[in-house]
Amino acid sequence: MASPVVQLPDAQLRPLLAAYDASVRERRWNTLLFGLCLVVAVALSSVSAEVSLGKLFGNIGNFTSYIGRLFHLESGAPVWTDPVEWYWGLARWLRLLAETLLMAYVGTALGAIGAFFLCFLAAANVSPRPWLRLAVRRFCELCRTVPELVFALMFVIAFGLGPMAGVLAVAIHTLGALGKLFAEVVENIDMKPVEGITATGAHWTTAMRYGALPQTLSNFVSYTLLRFEINVRGATVMGFVGAGGIGMDLVEAIRKFYYSDVSAILLLIVITVSVIDTLTGVVRHRLIGLEERR
């Protein structure tokens, strides 16, 4: 059976094949080397992080039984047989949940307002002074690299136990994160309106207000909503360090082994977070739609 494929003569084919083999071999070696490095890194890390698979598999029964116990009441009955007993603290938890949401909202709003004023100073294309831009950038970096909870720990000392410390921690972190994102939005604008307004002799603030702001506002709102989603999640654990919200009750329930309370609160959190995610998702998609129609 004659093959329809035209074959090169052997002499011509051999160097080509050799070159192909060499390039494949090189790639294989690279991959192997990278894999080896990774294995060594994992091995060293496992020593440092006290990984013991034996303990994991020996105690994995604990995990499943823990999850199981979460869904049983003190009396031993499954939680869904007696929802009233399961959610005995509903009024208190809903109040704490509302406080958590309010913390996330106020924190996001304050952070976004701060970021809004900083971003025009931090954007390379419109910043009035280079040194100011650098200073604002570094400040935002500091605000978002230090974890929220660390700020919360310090604010708890200054402002006392309670939601205010949590709000401020959320706000500072949001300021850092949104400051960077907002500045990037401003860097991507069309400069012509800004130049036009500056050419009329207008002050920098006027140029920003009428030249830059209209192009950026919908993106600002969209990023703020995204951040709000993240902050709702973050606010649920602020209570772990005494900074308000539902985290306080949750950490107490986990530490004191009130199993059914843990599952009740976790379920409330999961539902709230997914409702918020869906709502902000809808609004954000509409905003993106508005942007595209323009």
């Binding site: 006290e50 913390m103 709003a109 974890p147 000392i157 772990f240 308000g244 976790l266 995610d277």
Partner: protein, 285 residues
């Protein structure tokens, strides 16, 4: 020399009505939303006690604390050694957690990707369970795992792994859904099975994207790993929380500085790695 012309606004308004009118209703809606948001902010601040004296008093105290934190000072060399060891532990926790999550999230992401998992119900279930995992914060996972494997860094590894399975599952499945379906169709048409279709039709295309996401999360997990110590799951966070609570503020600021430097270093390294990965394979795509 007053060259300023008096501008006849009414005439301009009459000539270009579409520039002035706005789109009446949507503008009113936007203003109303803005006002409502501002009112809610004021209400919230009132509820959370911002308008009492505590806020101003706290600000003064905060200034005092900031003053006490300077200059950063670890105390003695024994502390430096302890902190550096914990720093290594923190990075190790982040590395192992991220890698384990990436390995475990791969198959889950295939289940949650619309174009691979055609059975709608499976796809829906996978998505919902990933969402549920994601909506529980990493600290909560850490507390749960502490109950299983005890206090220590291993619980931290497992916590990062669990919470990242949710994140990776979502991101990976989105990357897979965005992949071009032609290579896979070609392989299936040539007689390759579903597994071969995924291995040679999807994986080469999405691998650089996935790898860069894993690197990005390694960075952000280094940050997370510094806080899970606060609940006792290993790493620098334990020492940090202790230093802040016992008001050893100079030590606390030293630890924070260490974290900042470590995160910046990892940022640089992983950027280089990401560049190498995308640069090498991105050209083919």
């Amino acid at each position: 020399m007053a060259l300023r012309m008096s501008v006849d606004m009414a005439a301009i308004r009459a000539r270009h009505p579409h520039h002035f009118g706005g789109s009446g209703r949507s503008r009113q809606l936007a203003v109303a939303t803005g006002v409502a948001a501002a009112l809610l902010l004021l209400f919230g601040m009132g509820q959370l006690g911002f308008f009492g004296g505590t806020f101003l008093a706290g600000l003064g105290k905060l200034g005092e604390i900031a003053g006490l934190m300077l200059p950063p000072d670890p105390g003695d060399w024994a502390h430096v050694r302890l902190y550096l060891l914990s720093l290594v532990e923190t990075v190790a926790i982040a590395l192992l957690g991220t890698l384990a999550a990436a390995v475990l999230a791969g198959p889950l992401a295939l289940l949650a990707a619309k174009n691979v998992m055609t059975a709608r119900i499976m796809h829906f279930l996978a998505r919902r369970s990933l969402d549920t995992i994601r909506s529980v914060d990493i600290l909560i996972w850490a507390l749960i795992w502490i109950n299983v494997v005890g206090l220590g860094p291993f619980a931290g590894v497992l916590a990062i792994m669990t919470s990242d399975i949710g994140n990776f599952g979502k991101l990976f499945s989105e990357a897979i859904e965005a992949a071009d379906r032609k290579p896979r169709e070609g392989i299936v048409a040539a007689g390759g099975g579903a597994v071969l279709g995924i291995r040679f039709g999807i994986l080469p295309e999405v691998f650089p994207v996935l790898a860069s996401q894993v690197l990005y999360f390694f960075e952000s997990n280094t940050r997370s790993a510094t806080i899970i110590g606060i609940v006792g799951a290993g790493g620098l966070g334990l020492h940090l929380a202790e230093a802040i609570r016992t008001l050893e503020l100079q030590q606390a600021s030293f630890i924070i500085l260490t974290i900042l430097i470590a995160v910046a270093a990892i940022d640089v390294v992983s950027n280089q790695l990401r560049f190498a990965l995308i640069g090498r394979r991105g050209r083919l795509a």
